[in-house]
């Protein structure tokens, strides 16, 4: 009886070790897959033809835009896929980002100019959110809403860019923008502030693209 108990414990111990090893292996593979995903979507800055500025070269160009569902400032769930048929500018920004504040009025003006042609902007805030602290989370959301209101942003402002940063290349710099065609293909990407003309050119590209 005593011997059987010992054998049972040894077998259970070995099974537990196998179980733990399997879980650790699964976790490792999952993390490696996430790293691969982030790296595969990570763009790089390359010198332009004149050699005086660096242009953002994203591997997402000509590929389907990674879908997402995020909460907006009013608590509604918003999915990129629900905008199929429209050209979309995904603009990652943050309340603490000075260059974002320069380009936002341009984006608003261009959104108003092209919305009748089937163009929409999704502004995604990259501000940190304390998801485990209700009080702080509420204050952070309020801060984002206040900034959006001060800038008179008329388009949906979504929260928690961090949760989709990997498929969009890491979002190491802000502002970062992706221009999506009516069929959901990324046709252009920008990191950092450029010019209103360049933004408009990319919006037209997204509206006219057959991809």
């Amino acid at each position: 009886m005593k011997r059987n108990t010992i054998v049972l414990f040894v077998v259970l111990f070995i099974l537990a070790i196998f179980g733990w090893a399997g879980w650790a292996n699964w976790k490792y593979r999952q993390q490696a897959a996430e790293r691969r995903l982030a790296l595969s979507a990570k763009g790089e800055l390359v010198p332009d033809a004149a050699g005086d500025t660096l242009q953002y070269n994203s591997p997402l160009i000509n590929k389907p835009a990674p879908d997402f569902t995020l909460e907006d400032l009013h608590g509604n769930k918003v999915s990129l896929s629900s905008y199929k048929g429209k050209a979309v500018l995904i603009n990652f920004w943050a309340t603490w980002c000075a260059p974002c504040k320069i380009e936002t009025p341009w984006i608003i003006a261009l959104r108003n100019k092209y919305s009748s042609q089937g163009f929409e902007v999704l502004g995604i805030s990259a501000d940190d959110l304390d998801l485990n602290d209700k009080q702080k989370l509420s204050e952070e959301k309020q801060q984002i809403a206040q900034t959006a209101q001060q800038m008179h942003i008329p388009y949906p402002v979504l929260l928690n860019a961090d949760s989709i940063s990997k498929p969009y290349g890491g979002l190491d710099d802000l502002p970062t923008s992706f221009y999506i065609s009516r069929n959901g293909t990324v046709v252009a990407a920008q990191v950092g502030i450029t010019s209103e003309d360049e933004i408009e050119g990319n919006i037209r590209k997204a509206l006219e693209s057959k991809n």
Binding site: E44, L45, V46, P47, G51, D52, T53, L54, A94, T95, W96, C97, A98, P99, C100, I102, A126, D128, T147, D172, D173, L174, P175, T176, V191, G192, I193, T194, S195
Partner: protein, 171 residues
């Protein structure tokens, strides 16, 4: 004579090359994507001191020196707008060392090329935070922290907190 001419030609060519390189680097602060990524990952570097000896239990002045990577700037401790994230030094409560006071340098006025009307208060290059610390008796490996938010002329990086290791000996 011929040798002299060739030496002059060589010197002139080298000077022209240096001038061109300087002009190119002035045009854009980073020569490649790798330079840019490296600067971003290491926007602020703690320089010194690595170790200080101070009288135990008494407020003591320690100057902490930092460097902001070339081509980048960080908000000063007192940015001009409330939405900007200030540079702040902190010392963990349980480290055996208390940060009694920190005096930050004034920021330098800075304007983004695309918004010349808005002035920002920033640190670039090297800057020093003048601190007054109180250390308990003994050897304390303090992991102080510097929180900052860095940008270049076109884009900003998320706020970051770096560890500032300093060995404080309280005697």
């Amino acid at each position: 004579m011929l040798n002299l001419q060739s030496t002059w030609r060589g010197t002139f060519a080298a000077a022209a090359l240096m001038l061109a390189a300087t002009a190119a680097s002035a045009q854009f602060p980073f020569n490649s994507s790798q330079d840019h990524a490296a600067a971003k990952n290491n926007a602020v570097q703690y320089l010194y001191p690595e170790q200080v000896t101070v009288p135990a239990g008494k407020p003591s002045a320690v100057e902490m020196h930092f460097r902001v990577a070339h081509g980048l700037h960080i908000n000063s401790h007192t940015p001009k707008d409330s939405y900007l994230i200030p540079t702040v030094l902190s010392v963990p409560a349980s480290s055996g060392v208390r940060l009694d006071n920190a005096t930050y340098p004034p920021g330098t006025d800075f304007t983004l090329p695309l918004d010349p009307n808005t002035k920002l208060s920033v640190y670039t290059g090297e800057f020093t935070i003048f601190t007054r610390i109180v250390a308990q008796r003994g050897n304390h490996l303090v992991q102080a922290q510097l929180r900052y938010q860095a940008c270049d002329n076109n884009a900003c990086m998320p706020p970051k907190t770096i560890t500032v290791p300093i060995d404080v000996i309280g005697k």
